[in-house]
Every structure is written in structure tokens, then in C-alpha cells.
């Protein structure tokens, strides 16, 4: 198992990938991607039991991950390639014509690691719950993980799924909310406030945990705690506090880099703040 320090080193490289990919296509969503880099690295390199070398759609006997907020595809693509799902060199094709790395994740081009398209928000929890129930029918004890944007929780389908999961005791799911408080038009508190988010999930019948999405030790401890709560009749969600744009000083904590790619000068500045640990693609 990699140590938290080793995971942090991988996350630094993932952040470089995110910046270079979005710069390379002059489009994409760096802000949320940078904010979720630590969690996705922890998930794929420590937490989940996955078999990238023998990828298949059904994923029987391995843990599954669903990215519901598909616009942060750069971080997912980087982590998948660094974990061995597909060649790291393919990151350079992000958002370009004839690429498997579509702007939002898709299965159409057969990219290893992706099990459903996402981008139109609010759909991933339902899909994940279906996959979790299929695992139960198959007697498969592995777990299903999901990631959602906090702004995404404004979609009604999320709450249909939340109600369903508790009623049907889908207790092999661990969901995480990227709780950065920002969405495209500004702070959530100004656009459409989520109110008492922990209270809402509790009222819907979920276990609710919180963690610091930039503290690798806290991520590992909290997710392992969530794993211990599985199989006891309740789904679990973790409200993960993050900063959009984490790791790059001029991008951090603002919605302004939600969907804007860095230009060459900004890229050089940003890369100067992040150590190249695994070799750029």
C-alpha cells in the first residue's frame, strides 16, 4: 500500500496532467479537477480493489467507481492512465478530434475504466445504485463508489436516488460530495443554497461523514471508516471539503476556473508550483 506521502506525490503529477490537458485543448474544467485530485488518487491507488490490467465492463469481483460530475474528466483520465488503464500518452488527445478522451466521459469510444457516460448532471447516483444492486444479485461483495459535485445536488434525480437507496438498504455504496461551495455562476450560497446538507442526507436515511479532501491521511481514515459501515443496511455519503483549483495559487478557491483552461503563460506559472513526480506525458 502506498503511503500518504507517496499518494501526494502522485497527486502532484495528476495536477500537472490536468493543467497540461486543459491547456492543450484550450478547454475543459481544471477547477473541480484540481480539487478532486487527492481523493481520486487515494481511491484508485489505495482504497479500491481494481484490476486495470484485465478491464471489462461488468467489473465482477472488483470495486466500481462512477463519476457523476463528468465535467471533471481531466482528473479521472489522468488517474486512470497513471493507474494503468490506458497509455499515459493518450492524455495528450484530450478533447481533440478522434480521441477516446471525450470532453465528458463516455463509453462510445471504448476507453478503459469508463462504465457509463456522464456530463448531464444528476444521473450517476442512480446508475451506481443499479450497479450496486446488480452486485448484490451476483453475490459480489465488492463496493461501489461515486463522486458528485455539490452544485449537482441541485438536480432532483439525486434525491430520487437518495430516497431509493435508503429504502432499499443499498449499503454497498460509498458516495462522496465534492463540497467546494462553487458552481459556474458563483458560490452555491448565492446561486441556490444547499442549506443543511448533512442534515438533508441524514433525513434521507444515509450515514453522513465529513473529511478534508486535501488531507490524504484524513481521506484514507474516513473512507476506511465508511467501508466499515457498509453491509449494515444504510448507504453512506462523505461530504468532502475541497478548494476548487487546489494546488495552484491563482486558481484556488474561486469559481472562475470552473470551465476555463490556462493559457501558456498561466500554465507555466502553475506548473512551477507543482513537482513533476512521475514524468509528464
Amino acid at each position: 500500500m502506498p503511503t500518504p506521502q507517496e499518494l501526494n506525490r502522485i497527486a502532484s503529477q495528476v495536477r500537472r496532467d490536468i493543467l497540461r490537458m486543459t491547456n492543450g485543448s484550450a478547454s475543459g474544467h481544471p477547477g473541480g479537477s484540481l480539487g478532486c485530485a487527492d481523493y481520486l488518487v487515494a481511491l484508485y491507488f489505495e482504497i479500491m480493489n481494481v484490476h486495470p490490467e484485465k478491464w471489462d465492463m461488468d467489473g465482477i469481483g472488483e470495486d466500481l467507481f462512477f463519476l457523476s460530475n463528468g465535467h471533471i474528466s481531466p482528473v479521472w483520465y489522468s488517474v486512470l492512465s497513471r493507474r494503468g488503464y490506458f497509455p499515459v500518452s493518450e492524455l495528450g488527445t484530450f478533447r481533440k478530434i478522434n480521441s477516446r478522451l471525450q470532453g465528458h466521459p463516455a463509453t462510445e469510444e471504448g476507453l478503459e475504466g469508463i462504465r457509463v457516460a456522464s456530463g448531464s448532471l444528476g444521473q450517476g447516483l442512480s446508475v451506481a445504485l443499479g450497479a450496486a444492486q446488480a452486485k448484490k444479485l451476483n453475490g459480489d461483495k465488492s463496493l461501489v463508489y461515486t463522486l458528485h459535485g455539490d452544485g449537482e445536488l441541485q438536480e432532483g434525480q439525486i434525491w430520487e436516488a437518495a430516497m431509493y437507496a435508503a429504502h432499499n438498504k443499498v449499503d454497498n455504496v460509498i458516495s462522496v460530495v465534492d463540497y467546494n461551495g462553487q458552481q459556474i455562476d458563483g458560490p452555491l450560497s448565492a446561486v441556490l443554497d444547499l442549506g443543511d446538507l448533512a442534515g438533508k442526507w441524514k433525513a434521507f436515511g444515509w450515514n453522513v461523514l465529513t473529511m478534508d479532501g486535501h488531507d490524504m491521511e484524513d481521506i484514507l481514515k474516513t473512507v476506511h471508516q465508511a467501508q466499515g459501515m457498509c453491509g449494515q443496511g444504510k448507504p453512506t455519503i462523505i461530504l468532502m471539503t475541497t478548494a476548487m483549483g487546489k494546488g495552484v495559487d491563482f486558481m484556488e478557491g474561486t469559481h472562475k476556473w470552473h470551465g476555463v483552461a490556462p493559457n501558456d503563460e498561466q500554465l507555466a506559472n502553475a506548473l512551477g508550483q507543482l513537482e513533476e513526480t512521475l514524468g509528464d506525458y
Binding site: R115, A117, V127, G130, Q157, M163
Partner: protein, 317 residues
């Protein structure tokens, strides 16, 4: 003109229910989800026989479509059940992204389609669903004509790998397809061979086309009647062959003209065999309350109008 025996009068939704139960017996990967309409969709027999493979999702159709997409991951073959309106328009984006674009093996089974829903009125009488579904890449669209065919279609789609939209209805209508008649997805079904005019139809309009063919026969006109139960993929060979043979075409369906079977056939013939065509469909309007028979008469979805349109098409040869 062949004669047709009516074996029974049954609803096509019951054909779906019978087919689903049989599909569940044949393959333990078949699962079913329903949004609080188990009795209306005739899914209760499946629920009783396979309680562990039946998922009641409540009045939450968007979630149902996502759940079904997810269940395919791990090898399940999910059948979703609700009214046609809530199977399509309400959840178009969920179907588009999580099912069609993602290539998921989900069977979207839609009852109470069209005007024959009757008294509930236009909120529930969807007449645009075939159009929405046929526009989606990867989607197969099927609209069978009677109880026996709906049962066979249900069994056939369980064996087919890929997303399918299966459309059926509520009223009791003549059962005239033999129970052992195999259902082949994408293969037009010759109902009656003729020489003067082709009547293409699907769903409840196939029986009306047979009645129209009999009336035309009494006027000395030989009607070829073809059941296009699979709107997509369209059996273009059968469509072109018959149009070339008769030189006049009527398309009849319980759907809007825009986006329906008629449009698919017109696109095909315009490209391969331009032919005078007339249409029996709902002409850019919503439905309303009434009995199924009253509504089908008011909106011209009946044998009488098919005859009238056939004579018009013949006159344009």
C-alpha cells in the same frame, strides 16, 4: 384478400406481462423495474414469481432509468415499466446519456401509448414517443400489433443485446397473430399480399389496415398489408420492394405524423423509390378525453380513413 381469424380480444400490455414472465423463466439475468404501475403494466406475475429480481422504484422515473442502466453493469437485463409518456418524454435525457449513448442493454417497456389510453386525456396520451426514441443512436424501436406479437416481441428483445423501446397499449383489441409466430426484430411482417396499394401499419392500426384491406377488396382493389412492427431499424428492403410493386402507399400509426413510422418510410422511399404516399396519423395536435373508439374515430385512426387515403394514393399513381 386473406381472411383473418380473431382468436381473442386482449390488451397488448398483457402480452408484455406474459412475455416478461416467460423471459424471466428462461433467463435468470432478466430483472424488472417499475415506477408504481405494476398492475397497469401487468408486471405483477413477474413480481410474484421473481420477487428478488423485481424492483419497485416508486414515482421516480428518472431514477428508474439510471438504475436500469447500472444494473446492466454486472450482466443483468433490465426491463423498465411505466406509461409511454413517463418512459420517454419525462426521462429523455436519462435515456439519452445513461442508456443510449452508454450502449446499455436496457429494455424500456412502455404501456398506455397513444390515443387509446382514452379517458385520461392528453397529459397521458403520448403521441411523440416513437419520434423521440427513434432519433437516439443505438436505440431499437418496436411497436407490436396484438397480444401474441407483444409477448413474442418481449421474448425477442430479452435475447437482443442493446437498448430497446417497446411500445404497447391498454385497450382490448383483436388477437389475430398466431401465438407461435416468431418475432424477428427489424423484419417486416407480410400480413396480406396485394398488387394495387400498400398499407404499412403498426400497433393497433394493423387490424384497422386489415379491415381497410377487406373494404378495398370489395371495391376490386388489391391491398398489400405489411406490419412494420420494428420502426427502427426499418426493414428498408421490404418497404422498397412493396412500394415498387404497388406504386401507392399509405402509412397508418397511432402517433404524430411528425417523427413517426410514416416519416421513416417516407425518408426511405424518397431516397430509393419515390412513391405517392398518404398518411393516417395524428396531425400535429394533442389528444383529449374520450373512449378509445371515439378518439380513434375523431382523429381518423381507423379503417375508414385508411380506405380514404388509399383511394387518394391510388389516384396519384
Amino acid at each position: 384478400m386473406k381472411t383473418f381469424e380473431i382468436f381473442d380480444k386482449q390488451d397488448t400490455r398483457s402480452g408484455f406481462g406474459a412475455g416478461l414472465l416467460e423471459a424471466g423463466k428462461r433467463n435468470d439475468q432478466v430483472v424488472a423495474l417499475c415506477a408504481d404501475l405494476t398492475g397497469s403494466l401487468k408486471m405483477d406475475a413477474f413480481e410474484k414469481e421473481f420477487p428478488d429480481r423485481f424492483f419497485q422504484v416508486g414515482i421516480a422515473e428518472a431514477n428508474m432509468m439510471g438504475l436500469a442502466a447500472g444494473m446492466t453493469i454486472g450482466g443483468k437485463i433490465p426491463f423498465t415499466g411505466t406509461f409511454a409518456n413517463f418512459s420517454t418524454g419525462r426521462v429523455y435525457d436519462q435515456i439519452r446519456q445513461s442508456i443510449a449513448y452508454s450502449g446499455k442493454n436496457v429494455k424500456i417497456c412502455a404501456s398506455h401509448a397513444g390515443l387509446t389510453l382514452g379517458e385520461d386525456g392528453a397529459t397521458h396520451q403520448i403521441l411523440e414517443d416513437v419520434g423521440m426514441m427513434k432519433m437516439l443512436p443505438h436505440m431499437t424501436v418496436i411497436h407490436p400489433c396484438d397480444f401474441n406479437q407483444t409477448k413474442q416481441a418481449t421474448l425477442a428483445i430479452a435475447e437482443h443485446n442493446g437498448p430497446v423501446y417497446l411500445r404497447f397499449g391498454r385497450p382490448k383489441v383483436p388477437t389475430f397473430i398466431r401465438p407461435d409466430e416468431p418475432f424477428v426484430i427489424g423484419k417486416a411482417q407480410m400480413i396480406n399480399e396485394g398488387t394495387d396499394v400498400t398499407l404499412f401499419a403498426n400497433g393497433h392500426l394493423v387490424w384497422q389496415a386489415i379491415l381497410a384491406g377487406q373494404a378495398l377488396s370489395e371495391q376490386g382493389i388489391s391491398a398489400e398489408i405489411i406490419n412494420i412492427h420494428t420502426v427502427k431499424p426499418l426493414d428498408e428492403d421490404a418497404v422498397v420492394r412493396s412500394a415498387r410493386k404497388t406504386g401507392a402507399v399509405v402509412v397508418a400509426e397511432e402517433h404524430q405524423l411528425l417523427g413517426g413510422l410514416g416519416g421513416s418510410i417516407a425518408e426511405c422511399l424518397a431516397q430509393h423509390a419515390p412513391t405517392p404516399m398518404e398518411f393516417v396519423a395524428v396531425m400535429d395536435s394533442f389528444g383529449e378525453s374520450g373512449t378509445p373508439e371515439q378518439l380513434m374515430d375523431k382523429y381518423g385512426l381507423n379503417a375508414e380513413n385508411i380506405v380514404r387515403k388509399a383511394l387518394l394514393a391510388l389516384g396519384r399513381k
